[in-house]
Amino acid sequence: MASSYSAIALKTIWIKECTRFLRIWVQTLVPPAITMTLYFIIFGSIVGERIGDMSGRPYMEFIVPGLIMMSVITNSYSNVASSFFSAKFQRNIEEMLVAPVSTPVIIAGYVGGGLARALIVAVIVTLVSFAFVENVSINHAGILVLTVILTSTLFSLAGLINAVYAKTFDDISIVPTFVLTPLTYLGGVFFSVSLLPGIWETVARFNPILYMVNAFRYGFLGVSDVDVGVALGVIIVFNLAFFATAYTLLQRGVGIRS
């Protein structure tokens, strides 16, 4: 009985989250399409033609998986961060706190919303890429799907943790600006880390986003700078750590209970 109550609560939070980002689709779904189109035009068509091949693939083809992953990361993160913080700010998080909704259900509901938005954006960006790349082939569909789900789950959890600590709207833009964007740009979206000189290649391997981009690229193109098994392992470990952190924070009521 308790599990059916939880299933209904989870479905409710998920529908609420999806309704939210679909209601404001101009703010949530259109910008990634425009941004990625610009990336494809500038880095792919204009600059890319002069670069030539990267990891044995035409440059335009090489950056497609990285750009999709970049959209997945930013959208899953910002969806949960802004939604959860708004719920805190408007105090409608109390609707869930007074109800018998368990902490894992709250986390799963919000992560489910972030995942849904990330997957829709991934499909949109993939469709946009068709306009620029002639052959978008998928080499390992299973790894592709697993990577995108694990990555969006991870960044949804990260967005949730950010929102728990945030006290103002500025606090939920600091991490994307100062942490996510640099790590994403340095995470092998636009280049193979094997091009980096000596020590910098080693430093780049401490960047978790590198593993996500490369596992996803392996699913698409069959090429990767890192071992795919290691990459998936890293993503899973980060997921477990972030879930444990989010669970502990919500269970203790940090930022939401006096």
């Binding site: 479905k11 529908i15 408007q90 609707e95 869930m96 209970r257």
Partner: protein, 314 residues
């Protein structure tokens, strides 16, 4: 069975402010109970702890026998909360808000839609079901919060200042609605600043001040302890001049040319006032209580409670 039982409940906030200093409280099933107190007395903290929005420091709380520490899920199912401030998503529609709230309690979506229609119609919000909550008037928002709290059909409804900022007509219709659902068996606890509201609606009452219960009794019994009331009399006389009556044995204040306030002890009665005025050829045009009777008691109890406490640092 007790709808609510609180034993030695304490809350100290970070920073050391002691909001509750070990309160005991019991509310019987089916009761209409008022929790009164001045601002910062501890009412909202108490309600916050019962509804698990605030973590208690120590003490025991149970609702219909379900313990806050060990049976939280079942305890939460018993309670419907109408908070003091609007805390719904202003961008969601009225229907979304109530249906989602039911979903959090595990009510299947189709049942939630049926109940939403029932309660929104009862509270006069059905015509606004697809309007965004931010478009509603203040009174409608209050009623929306009541509908939202009832969707999972709780046995205990807690209302924190439910009629704050609501006009008189709407307030009265909300009172009628609350009386009706109380008759149907829902136990109601409310906090209010309108003491007339507590006197009209509630059977039992607790007064809390500075984190301690200073009175806990029935409204009837409390009102019998009222020894003195102040009446405002509007007077007239044929000569239309300023009227300055003399009232022996009564404390009296003249507030304008034709109005006086008279303090009347329970043992004195009003007849003596009328007799003396009549003897001075003064007619009483109208008469009313200066303050709500409960208000006088409330102020008296709070002041007496504070006077009995040792001064800080003493």
């Amino acid at each position: 069975m007790k709808a609510l039982s609180i034993k030695n409940l304490r809350k100290t906030y970070k920073g050391g402010f002691e909001a509750l200093k070990g309160i005991d409280l019991e509310v019987a099933e089916g009761d209409f109970f008022a929790l009164l107190g001045p601002n910062g007395a501890g009412k909202s903290t108490t309600i916050g702890i019962i509804s698990s929005l605030v973590n208690k420091t120590s003490g025991e709380v149970s609702v219909f026998g379900y313990d806050l520490d060990t049976q939280l899920v079942e305890l939460k199912r018993q309670i419907g909360l109408v908070p003091q401030e609007f805390n719904f998503n202003q961008f969601e529609t009225v229907r979304q808000i109530v249906v989602n709230q039911a979903g959090y309690y595990g009510v299947p979506r189709e049942v939630a839609h049926e109940r939403a229609e029932h309660y929104l119609k009862q509270l006069g919000l059905w015509d606004k079901r697809d309007a965004a909550a931010r478009m509603l008037s203040g009174g409608m928002k209050r009623r929306l919060m009541i509908a939202r709290a009832l969707l999972h059909e709780p046995r205990l409804l807690i209302l924190d200042e439910p009629t704050a900022g609501v006009d008189i007509e709407l307030r009265r219709s909300m009172w009628d609605y609350l009386i009706e659902i109380n008759k149907q068996g829902i136990t109601i606890i409310l906090t209010t600043h309108y003491l007339e509201e507590a006197e009209t609606l509630c059977r039992n009452i607790a007064i809390i001040d500075q984190g301690a219960i200073v009175e806990n009794t029935s409204v009837k019994r409390l009102l019998t302890t009222l020894n003195r009331e102040t009446f405002v009399l509007d007077m007239s006389r044929n000569d239309e001049q300023r009227i300055e009556p003399q009232l022996e044995g009564f404390t009296m204040r003249q507030t304008d040319d034709h109005t006086i306030e008279v303090d009347v002890e329970k043992s004195q009665g009003l007849n003596k006032v009328f007799e003396q005025l009549s003897a001075q050829d003064i007619k009483v045009i109208s008469m009313r209580n200066k303050a709500n009777r409960l208000e006088e008691l409330f102020v008296d109890l709070v002041e007496r409670g504070r006077a009995n406490k040792p001064a800080a640092g003493a």
